[in-house]
Assembly symmetry: C2
Homo-oligomer: 152 residues x 2
DNA sequence: GTCCTTGCAAAGGCTTTGCAACTGA
DNA sequence: TCAGTTGCAAAGCCTTTGCAAGGAC
């Protein structure tokens, strides 16, 4: 099963650096592996993990998120909602986000043109780019239709 | 003088909606007009305004920022620094940001290709785009050079 | 034993809110 | 008069930190 293999790989990655894959960390990891399409907040992760590990503390979630982010196991996003969101960074594909301001759903996209623009900008500004972030905010088809319904 | 004209225009904009341009609001407005190139945090604005209006309270700054944002007088940015930053939105030009993770300086750029990509994406996803955000994070030339200096 | 890790509670930092007082038309 | 506005302090929210206890090697 893919998830078990992923867990093993990440256990190695942690142990290489002198860290352990504790049950708590594994629970957080599995939450991300089981939700590859979601952009989880710290609180989302906490709630999900707490369901099976009631002894889990929030601080551990935050510490684990920071550790995973450092090791590039997950990546952090800010959609301007007052808290960070995290997603699995298991594949190295850079992608960008389209965020619906009504329902909060997030779509991801890759765009070769964008990557090209980015490389050109890095060159123009003599800038060593280590991360990027492109977000479109607006309203999805679904939410627009709801707006148009009578009574709204 | 341009700034006075801008102030008058915005006074009209406020009064149209039933708001007043109070001395506090004018002080905040002038801070933005006087710093068109900066990306000010709420605390930056507070410090600047407090220098000439010592009675100014933080709450007023936040309330003014929200009001100005609603009226599209300023726009809000989040560079992942734990607080929002605001900039004058007096001209309607959309632009994007290059943020140095070391010195925190921000460069702005416009890019026609990017705008084109954005329009295409809006079409592809049937999305009503009302805002966007492109940020590159990394290290500027200056900070890279400092890193290379002996002793660092 | 030693270092990593944890849960708890307290503290931090940014932002919002309740409220009584004030202001301008 | 009346709605809009303000300063202050308290509260809210997300996140980090101090610390003593627990756990793996």
């Amino acid at each position: 099963m893919t998830i078990n293999r992923d867990v093993d790989q990440i256990r190695d990655k942690l142990e290489e650096k002198g860290y352990r894959l504790t049950p708590q960390r594994q629970a957080v990891l599995e939450t991300f592996l089981a939700n590859p399409d979601r952009h989880l907040s710290a609180d989302d992760v906490y709630s999900i993990v707490k369901a099976t590990n009631p002894e889990m503390g929030v601080a551990t979630v935050y510490r684990t998120l920071e550790l995973f982010r450092e090791l590039h196991i997950i990546s952090e996003q800010d959609f301007g909602q007052g808290m960070s969101r995290y997603e699995c960074a298991c594949d190295d594909s850079h992608h960008h986000h389209i965020v619906c301001l009504k329902c909060g759903r997030v779509w991801e996209f890759n765009n070769a043109t964008l990557e090209r623009v980015e490389r050109q900008l890095a060159k123009d500004y003599d800038f060593d780019v280590v991360g990027h972030n492109m977000q479109l905010f607006g309203y999805c088809k679904n939410c627009r239709q709801k707006e148009d319904e009578p009574g709204h």
